[in-house]
Subunit: 336 residues, 2 copies
C-alpha cells in the first residue's frame, strides 16, 4: 500500500522521515536518565541491568508484558515510616476525636495512654494493642465515609519533623523507579501491612497506583441495605493481616502470579522477596536500608518499626540488592 | 519544527497524508459492528448507549478511564454452567483419580455417591457437600501443581452435550462484549463464586482477563520452605465464599472501587448488580436470561444452578437490562 501512496522517491523519503519523527516525538529520549535521584553505582546498575534483561525480546530472560509484575512494600519502602507508622498517627488523631463518645477509653488501655499522649506506653503491649486501636478507629462507618476522612487527613495533616503533609512523605527515588518500571511494561503493586483502604486514599495520586493494585491488611466488611440504598459498613474486626508469609499468600490470592521484582525494607518483606527471587529466570529482590539519619532516619536491627534482624543477612547471603539511602540516593523527598 | 522539515507544499501534503494514514491504520474502523453476535434490539442498544454516555468527554456522564470498572460473573454469564458447574465436573474427576488413596471415601458421603456416579444424591445435602468435595480435591498440593492440573483438564476434557473442551464453552456474544468494553477503556474483572485458581487456569486465554482481574472463592494457603525452596500449599479449608453479599465485599477488598457496569445471571449476582446500579451517574446492570433450550439451556426460577428467584423481579422493577439468549444472541458458542 505504501508504494502506491508515495509516488516519488522524495515523497517516500519525506514520509519515512515523518514516521521516524513521529516515533521519536512519542518515545522518551533514550539519553534522558529515568532515575536521576539514584547515584550511579551498584544498586542503580542492578536495577537497569535487570530491566534490560527482562525486556529484550528474543533473549532467554525476556518476560512478556503481562507477566511483568512488581510488588512494593509501602511503609519504609515507598514512604517514611518513622518515628511511627503514619496510619497509627492517623488512628491516634481518630482516638482523640472519638474520645467524647467513648468515656470508657479513659480507663481502658491502650486508649488511656494514647489520650494522655503516651504513645510508647500504649504500644508497649505489642501488636495486639495496635490492632485494637486500628479496629476501633477504622470501623463504625461506611467505606465511603472512611475514604473521605482518610483522604482529607493525609492531604492536610503535617508530620512533626519534615513539616509536610503525610501524603507527600514519599521517596523521590522510588517514584522514579515506579515510573521507570511502568514505562517498561511493568504493572506495579503495593503489598503492604498497612490498611488497604488507608493506602488507597492517597496511592493513586502519590504513586500512580490505582486502588485495584493496592494490597494491604483489612478489616471485615458488611454489606447492607439502608432502606433502598446499599452500603458497605466497616466492622471492628481484623480480617487479613498482610505481613510476612501473609504477603505471599495475598500475592497469590489477589494477583495470582509470582512477581518478577519485589521491593521491601524490613523483615516483614522477607518472604515476599524470597518468593520473588525463587522464580525461574531473571529476578530482582531489593531491600531499602535506612542508613541516613541526617536526611531521614537510621535504623535496622532491633528496630520496633521496620526491623531488619533477618532480612539484611539473607539479602547479603543471596546477593539481593541492598540500597543505601545515604549513598545511593541524591534526593529523599520530592521538591515541594 | 514541522515547517522546517517539509520544505515544499507537496512534501507537506504527503506528510499530512502519512500521518492521517497512520492514525487510520491504528484505529478500529468505526463502521464495523463490535457486537456482531448481538441482534439489534433493546439490549444491544442499552449497552452501546451506556458506553457512548460514559466515554463522551465533557458531558455529565463522562467517566475517566481509571474508573471504568466492569465486573462479570462467570458461571452462566461468561460460560455454560448447566447441567453442572464445570468446576464440580472437574472435582468429580479428581475424586475418581484420588479414590485409591482414600479408601474411606467408599463409605463417606458425598464421596461414596460420586464414586457410584450418583451426582444428584451427592448434591442432595446442599452447598455444604459441594464445599466439602471442592476442599478435598483442591488441596494437598502446591498452587503451581494445581494450576497445571486444572489447565490441562480444561483444555482437554469435553462436555457431554456440546462435545467441546470445557475451556471453549464460553459465550461468543460475551467475548465480543468484553472486547468492546476494553476497546472503550474499561478494565474487565471476573467476580464469581467459582474457585479463583480454577478460573485463572483458562481466563486469560479464553477471555483475555489476566489473573489479577479474576476474583473468586478461595481456600486457605500456607507459605512454607521445602529445604531452600519456597512454596504455597493449598489447604483443605475454605477461606472466601465469593457469592451474593460476598461479591460486593470482594469488590471493595480487591478492586477498591465501585464498578460502573456489572453482568450476572443469577440470584448470586443480585447484590453486585444492586451495588453497581446504586452508584452515581450512568450505570449498567445486566442479567443474562437463559431461555434458549434449543441452543443452550432454559432455566430461571427454582433452578438449583443459576436460580433466578429474586434477581429477575428486581431487574424488571429497576429496569436493568435483561438479555434473552434466544432473541438477543444470534450465536452462542464461538466457531471451532
Amino acid at each position: 500500500m505504501a508504494r502506491s501512496l508515495f509516488r516519488s522517491t522524495s515523497a517516500r523519503a519525506v514520509a519515512a522521515f515523518t514516521i521516524a519523527w513521529l516515533i521519536a516525538a512519542t518515545t522518551p529520549a533514550a539519553a534522558q536518565d529515568p532515575l536521576p535521584s539514584w547515584n550511579n553505582g551498584a544498586s542503580k546498575q542492578a536495577i537497569t541491568a535487570f530491566v534490560g534483561r527482562v525486556t529484550r525480546a528474543g533473549t532467554p530472560d525476556f518476560v512478556p508484558v503481562a507477566q511483568r509484575i512488581a510488588t512494593f512494600d509501602n511503609d519504609g519502602t515507598l514512604w517514611v515510616e518513622q518515628p511511627l507508622y503514619t496510619q497509627f498517627e492517623f488512628a491516634i488523631d481518630r482516638v482523640k476525636l472519638q474520645a467524647a463518645a467513648h468515656p470508657e477509653w479513659k480507663n481502658t488501655e491502650p486508649f488511656a495512654s494514647l489520650l494522655d499522649g503516651n504513645v510508647g506506653q500504649a504500644l508497649a503491649s505489642g501488636e495486639e494493642s495496635l490492632l485494637q486501636v486500628l479496629a476501633a478507629t477504622h470501623s463504625g462507618m461506611t467505606t465511603e465515609a472512611y475514604e473521605r476522612i482518610a483522604r482529607e487527613w493525609l492531604k492536610t495533616k503535617r508530620d512533626a519533623r519534615f513539616k509536610r503533609p503525610y501524603s507527600t512523605l514519599v521517596y523521590q527515588p522510588m517514584l522514579e523507579l515506579l515510573n521507570y518500571l511502568r514505562a517498561n511494561g511493568f504493572k506495579t503493586f503495593i503489598v503492604s501491612g498497612g490498611g488497604v483502604e488507608f493506602m488507597r486514599a492517597y496511592a493513586e495520586e502519590a504513586y500512580g497506583i490505582p486502588p485495584e493494585q493496592v494490597i494491604g491488611s483489612s478489616g471485615r466488611l458488611k454489606y447492607q441495605l439502608r432502606g433502598d440504598v446499599p452500603e458497605l459498613l466497616k466492622l471492628p474486626a481484623v480480617d487479613v493481616v498482610n505481613d510476612k508469609e501473609g504477603k505471599v499468600v495475598s500475592i497469590q490470592k489477589v494477583i495470582g502470579r509470582r512477581p518478577i521484582a519485589a521491593f521491601g525494607n524490613s523483615d516483614g518483606d522477607l518472604q515476599m522477596l524470597e518468593w520473588t527471587a525463587a522464580g525461574k529466570g531473571a529476578r530482582l529482590a531489593l531491600l531499602v536500608h535506612h542508613d541516613d539519619e541526617t536526611r531521614e532516619w537510621a535504623y535496622d536491627r532491633g528496630s520496633k518499626i521496620g526491623g531488619l534482624d533477618k532480612a539484611l543477612d539473607v539479602a547479603t547471603a543471596k546477593k539481593w540488592v541492598v540500597v543505601s539511602m545515604k549513598n545511593d540516593w541524591n534526593a529523599i523527598l520530592p521538591k515541594q
